[in-house]
């Protein structure tokens, strides 16, 4: 379970995230959507422990990330939007390194790594240096690395960037499978079709605040529009801009 309490982040006097309060039940695929500069990536980075909140708390599985960062990070998997990696490691070495950071022991580690490389169709490239990978391959490697320690919460920033249709389909299936097994998936995205397709709960964020939340159907009712999520989103965010 994920819970935000008055979560706020201020950068040089500008509120990027403004007093967020949210509760996401376990086993949910949660979509966090909003226009550029709405505070999505800032929120995600605070959840992943990469950024410190100015105020407020984030609880993951009942643990406060500010108080017990190592324990929280052990149960989350973070997939950032830009695949910056150690370019001079091979894919295989990178996965071993990532496993080491999570304190995983050698027993059956290679088997696990090999399975993940197979799942993401990277076996052929396992011994190549990451610097020779394409953008999409790096993204697949990051997703594989985020799964290595079987996290209970997956935090994803723009999961489909750089993925080809086959890769995108695979990732969607994996997210559904994780949620089915009880993991919580928190996805920040611009791709409204993706949110509509796989997210059970959605929050629309604008100017650092949640302006609407619920299922796709709830949001449609709140906005008072018919049709797809795009129309709902535009209606709600334009309404906020008008204010």
């Amino acid at each position: 379970m994920i819970r935000f309490e008055n979560l706020t982040k201020i950068y040089r006097g500008i509120k990027a995230v403004d007093d967020l309060n949210l509760q996401i039940p376990q086993g949910t695929i949660f979509g966090f959507i909003g226009p550029n500069g709405a505070g999505k990536t800032t929120t995600i980075k605070m959840m992943a422990g990469v950024l410190r909140p100015t105020r407020g708390r984030i609880y993951i599985d009942g643990l406060d990330i500010a108080k017990e960062p190592s324990k929280v990070k052990r149960i989350i998997g973070f997939i950032p939007d830009r695949p910056f990696l150690y370019e001079r490691l091979s894919g295989l070495e990178f996965l071993r390194f990532k496993a080491g950071l999570y304190g995983m022991k050698e027993d059956r580690l290679d088997e696990r790594i090999w399975d993940l490389l197979g799942l993401f169709e990277l076996r052929e490239w396992a011994d190549e240096l990451i610097e020779s990978y394409s953008h999409g391959m790096k993204q697949r490697l990051i997703i594989a690395a985020s799964m290595i320690h079987d996290p209970q919460v997956i935090i994803v920033d723009e999961p489909m960037v750089g993925l080809d249709p086959k890769g995108a389909k695979l990732v969607k299936e994996i997210f559904r499978q994780w949620a089915g097994e009880g993991a919580t998936v928190f996805i920040s995205t611009h791709t409204l079709a993706l949110a509509q397709e796989i997210c059970q709960q959605i929050a629309i964020v604008d100017k650092g605040r949640i302006v609407a939340s619920g299922t796709s159907e709830d949001l449609r009712k709140q906005a008072g529009v018919e049709g797809d999520l795009e129309r709902t989103f535009l209606k709600i965010t334009e309404g906020v801009a008008g204010k």
């Binding site: 410190r52 990070k73 150690y86 001079r88 950071l101 304190g103 995983m104």
Partner: protein, 563 residues
């Protein structure tokens, strides 16, 4: 279009100055202040050398002219070298090149604008630091305004020639190798060249030139002085022009001016012509993905894995990753060649010390030198640390999010970096100290004292490198070698030197007392004992402080990091 293409650099620089925060302004001021101090020091040093030369009858002017020819040749060579390095980045690797090449700008315009960037990036530093030497000539020889005007007049074609040659070479190189591989080749070759030049220079023993009596004849002496000069070199033409102005000789320089400018123009034309033929082809090849397999260094990895096992899987993984990436980054490991040359010359210097000819009692001198040696070895370790340890945190680059989002705490992260570098530095420092002390044939007391002192100094030097590296990180570097040359690197060298000096100052007095009372056969008084013990306790505290403070500051910086 050319003006438009070069505008981002200037607008960016202007915005950087205008919008910089007070912290950055302090940084700029500190760097400028240090630059001015260095500039003045170089000016006064050059003046002193030239005044000494001019006091020598007959050979004084010959020496000064040779020095001018050598200085200009070195400046010219360094200019070509720095243009090669920056041209590769500006013409082939920079990220904004895609934008330029996809615009409707003509290829010649893009090439010229990037060449202009290259000239600006490569020349300013050398020009600034070459200037004090040239100004010293003007000052010592009471040169008129015409000398300073000629200086400006000569600098321009010299820079254009160096730039054209550098750019030409890089275009040819990238035509045959991909840009990344060309960079590796240049880095490697230039390092080998520097090492060879450095070793050659040292083994030629230039200190002999200060003492002409050691030569049998004047001819032999002048032969030893002879600078590598040729009438076909642009630096020779520049020397001729400037020397004529210095000694107030009015004739003969028109030809040299013509040679300089015509060569500069001709090379620019050839460069543009070559760019039309091969530049875009090279740029296109530079974009192609390269498939590079990992290279095995199984033995080293196994050793690292065994040594680091007690630290736990997280720290072991981090150290193993650092070792792998270090040896796969050519710009990193090839610096080990420099390290090797530095150590060889350091040891060689001690082996040729003429201790037996010294008027001071040898036993005193040996021990004093051994003491001085602690400082020198400390300084060598600091110089290496600024290259290898200070960039350790920055070496995570933009992949630092992996560490931040992992369960590895910032504290364990920093201590992993500390431990990874501590052992090799300890081995190196002890090797330097013990071997040089053996060459100096010092007393067992001094051998023990200097070995223990350097042992603890290394802890402080390494902690300062890791800690300050975290306080002044640069995660967005294009090349890790840039990190050491920034503001943080300068601060590290200053603090590290002060730390070494303080330890030596605290130990020097008590050690002198112990040695002198021992040689005179006297007893050490109670007061002297208190002073000696007090000094050594302060050394211990200083070492603890040098480890604890920078690591705490580094930890605070990482905890507050907001990438």
């Amino acid at each position: 279009m050319f003006r438009l293409l070069i505008s981002p650099k200037f607008v960016g620089f202007k915005n950087g100055l205008k919008r910089s925060r007070s912290k950055i302004k302090i940084k700029v001021l500190t760097l400028t202040g240090t630059g001015i101090l260095f500039w003045l020091a170089l000016f006064f040093l050059s003046c002193r050398v030239l005044i000494y030369f001019s006091s020598q009858e007959i050979i004084g002017d010959i020496l000064a002219r040779h020095l001018l020819a050598m200085a200009l040749l070195i400046f010219f060579s360094l200019l070509i070298f720095s243009h090669i390095i920056t041209a590769l980045s500006n013409l082939y690797i920079s990220q904004d090149l895609e934008l330029c090449h996809s615009s409707p700008a003509r290829l010649t315009e893009i090439f010229l604008s990037r060449s202009f960037y290259t000239v600006i990036d490569s020349s300013w530093m050398l020009l600034v630091f070459g200037l004090p030497v040239m100004m010293a000539y003007g000052f010592v020889y009471h040169a008129g305004l015409d000398y300073y005007l000629s200086l400006i007049h000569v600098s321009f074609p010299l820079i254009i020639i160096a730039a054209s040659l550098g750019i030409m070479l890089i275009m040819v190189l990238v035509r045959f190798f991909p840009a990344q591989r060309a960079r590796d080749i240049i880095m490697f070759l230039s390092l080998i060249l520097i090492v060879i030049l450095y070793l050659l220079f040292r083994f030629l023993r230039p200190e002999r030139l200060v003492n002409p009596e050691t030569f049998i004849s004047v001819a032999q002496y002048l032969g030893a002085l002879k600078a590598p000069d040729s009438p076909y070199l642009p630096s020779h033409w520049a020397t001729e022009i400037l020397w004529a102005r210095l000694i107030k000789y009015t004739g003969g320089h028109v030809l040299n001016h013509l040679l300089l400018w015509s060569t500069a123009f001709a090379l620019v034309v050839i460069d543009i012509w070559m760019a039309g033929l091969i530049y875009f082809d090279g740029f296109s090849r530079a974009q192609e993905a390269k498939r590079r397999s990992r290279t095995g260094r199984k033995i080293l990895e196994r050793i690292v894995s065994v040594i680091t096992r007690p630290l736990g899987p997280d720290m072991t993984s981090l150290i193993a990753k650092d070792v792998r990436t270090f040896f796969r980054d050519n710009s990193q490991w090839s610096q080990l060649l420099l390290l090797g040359a530095l150590v060889v010359v350091y040891l060689y210097n001690f082996s040729v010390l003429p201790l037996e000819r010294s008027p001071i009692r040898s036993i005193y001198l040996q021990n004093a030198l051994s003491f001085l040696n602690i400082g020198l070895a400390g300084f060598v370790i600091s110089a290496l640390s600024v290259r290898f340890i200070f960039p350790a945190v920055s070496s995570e680059g933009q992949a630092f999010w992996i560490i931040l989002s992992s369960p590895l705490s910032p504290r364990r992260f920093l201590w992993s970096k500390f431990l990874a570098y501590l052992l090799p530095m300890l081995v190196l420092a002890e090797m330097l100290i013990i071997y040089t002390n053996y060459l100096l044939k010092v007393t067992p007391f001094m051998m023990a004292l200097s070995s223990v002192t350097i042992f603890f100094l290394v802890f402080g030097i390494v902690a300062l490198g890791v800690g300050l590296g975290a306080v002044y990180p640069n995660f967005r570097h294009e090349n890790i070698a840039q990190v050491a040359t920034g503001f943080g690197g300068l601060i590290y060298m200053i603090i590290s030197s002060v730390f070494i000096a303080l330890v030596i100052m605290l130990e020097a007095g008590p050690v002198y007392t112990i040695l002198s009372t021992h040689f005179r056969g006297e007893e050490i008084t109670h007061l002297q004992w208190i002073w000696i013990v007090g000094s050594f306790i302060m050394v211990i505290f200083l070492n603890i402080f040098a480890v604890q403070r920078p690591m705490a500051a580094g930890l605070k910086a990482i905890n507050g990091y907001e990438g």
